[in-house]
């Protein structure tokens, strides 16, 4: 049989080790679209390649809250439907907001955070949030485990650091103490690929502000200049920001973006959208400021 449906992580790894060119399948919401369109050729009768379906691997489908470390460890197979609901919604609110914008209920019931990361589309909604939260990804193969920042894992448009024989085991997301949110511009409210998106995450105890952008470069962009500017301008005692500083924050974020013209939008519109989203997100994070 060319479709393996392992029911443990060990079994999945053994299957991967025994079948070098195996294709991993999680929710299928990226992969099956390609198969249906004939873009991805699954094993035809004679080439004997293997598909490893991961949806029955319990270790990948679960998540844990490591309280002392203040991290949430998401198995790669955790679905968007799980992430958008409490208790995860309360621990990683920006990721839950991003989750709620993914496709439709049907897509969120099947689609996984690991599949989103492995696909590494410039428009992947989970990716700006994981980058803003400084999440790490853990990769597993028969040879062992390695962990790296999600930002280093994403190499380019649909290119990642995943090596043959490896799978994404988990994603470790720091639980911050401060407001965080995700904003996405598209042509409608449901079932829409981002034209541009942004995540702002704050951590009040460490006086940290992060902003990451989606759909405006080959992979997610962090904006260190904008982040530094905001850290200096925010009133950390009152948790407020000047309206003018929020506008400047938006301008700096837009300057860090590298959007293109394509069938979905123009570079100019995307840059404008980034400025507006960044400004609004910062004002939501520090709401005491004037409008």
């Amino acid at each position: 049989m060319t479709v393996l449906v392992p029911t443990s992580l060990d079994e999945a790894i053994a299957g991967l080790a025994a079948n070098g060119g195996a294709t991993l399948l999680a929710g299928g919401t990226d992969l099956m679209v390609e198969v249906n369109e004939g873009h991805r050729h699954f094993p035809w009768p004679d080439d004997g390649a293997t598909i490893i379906a991961l949806h029955r691997v319990p270790e990948l489908a679960t998540w844990t809250y490591d309280v002392p470390a203040a991290t949430v460890v998401l198995g790669a197979g955790v679905t968007w439907a799980t992430i958008e609901q409490p208790p995860l919604r309360d621990l990683v609110p920006a990721l839950a907001e991003a989750a709620r914008t993914v496709g439709s209920p049907q897509i969120r019931n099947a689609g996984t955070v690991g599949g989103n990361l492995a696909t590494c589309s410039p428009a992947g909604d989970g990716l700006p949030v994981l980058a803003a939260l400084d999440a790490d990804v853990t990769l597993l193969s028969a040879g062992g485990r390695r962990t790296m920042p999600v930002r280093d894992f994403m190499l380019g448009v649909k290119r990642t650091a995943l090596q043959p024989g490896e799978l994404i085991e988990s994603i470790t997301v720091p639980v911050l103490q401060g407001w965080q949110g995700y904003s996405k511009v598209g042509v409608r409210n449901a079932m829409v690929i981002a034209t541009a998106s942004a995540c702002v995450a704050t951590d009040v105890p460490s006086r940290s502000i992060r902003i990451a952008l989606g759909s405006v470069a080959p992979t997610v962009v962090r904006c260190p200049v904008a982040e530094q500017f905001a850290v200096e301008r925010v009133d950390w005692d009152a948790l407020t920001v000047d309206a003018g500083d929020a506008v400047e924050f938006g301008r700096l974020a837009a300057a860090a973006s590298r959007p293109i013209d394509d069938h979905r939008s123009s570079a100019e519109y995307r840059r404008h959208a980034v400025a507006v989203m960044a400004q609004r997100l910062l004002q939501r994070a520090f709401p005491g400021g004037e409008r």
């Binding site: 449906v5 679209v33 249906n36 004997g48 439709s104 897509i107 099947a110």
Partner: protein, 164 residues
């Protein structure tokens, strides 16, 4: 190397013979098992007309690799209620005029059942959001929302009756 496997559809074990490994569940349901309720319009997860329950989850069957769905209960509209005895949701769709060409209807019926099972008293916003994966080109959605609301009320009334 063609595939042989067994799917558990509407409570019955169904053998699938000589299938290509890349076939999606929608194709297998319709073309190999003769279950025509789930419809195919886009085969890319956009329209929801192929919605079924797999392992209790509402999913687009066009995005499920059929050979990977072995061992999980699959429910299509054919399995919701016996012929001639529509479910409450099916009857409400008829009563409210929520069906025009009918192409979207099986997907919406499955989605509406799933919604009402999880959220017995949905607000209009919840209905709109929960059914946002099901595209209807005919009705304009108003009567579909009405049908779902009508079932919610009827079930609540029935529950209250049973409790008293």
């Amino acid at each position: 190397m063609s595939e042989h496997y067994t799917l558990h559809v509407n409570g019955v074990e169904r053998a699938v013979q000589d299938a290509w490994v890349g076939e999606n569940l929608l194709y297998v349901l319709r073309e190999r098992l003769g279950l025509m309720a789930a419809k195919g319009a886009c085969e890319q997860g956009e329209c929801g007309s192929c919605s079924v329950l797999v392992g209790g989850n509402l999913v687009c069957s066009c995005l499920v690799l059929a050979a990977s769905a072995v061992g999980e209960p699959i429910v299509t509209v054919e399995g919701l209620a016996p012929p001639g005895a529509p479910s409450d949701v099916q009857q409400a769709f008829v009563d409210c005029g929520a069906v025009q060409c009918g192409f979207c209807t099986p997907g919406l019926i499955i989605a509406a059942h799933d919604l009402l099972d999880r959220t017995p008293e949905p607000t209009e916003m919840q209905i709109r959001e929960e059914l946002s994966g099901n595209v209807c080109r005919c009705t304009g959605y108003g009567r579909i929302i009405e049908a779902v609301q009508q079932v919610a009320v009827a079930r609540r009334t029935a529950d209250a009756g049973a409790a008293s």
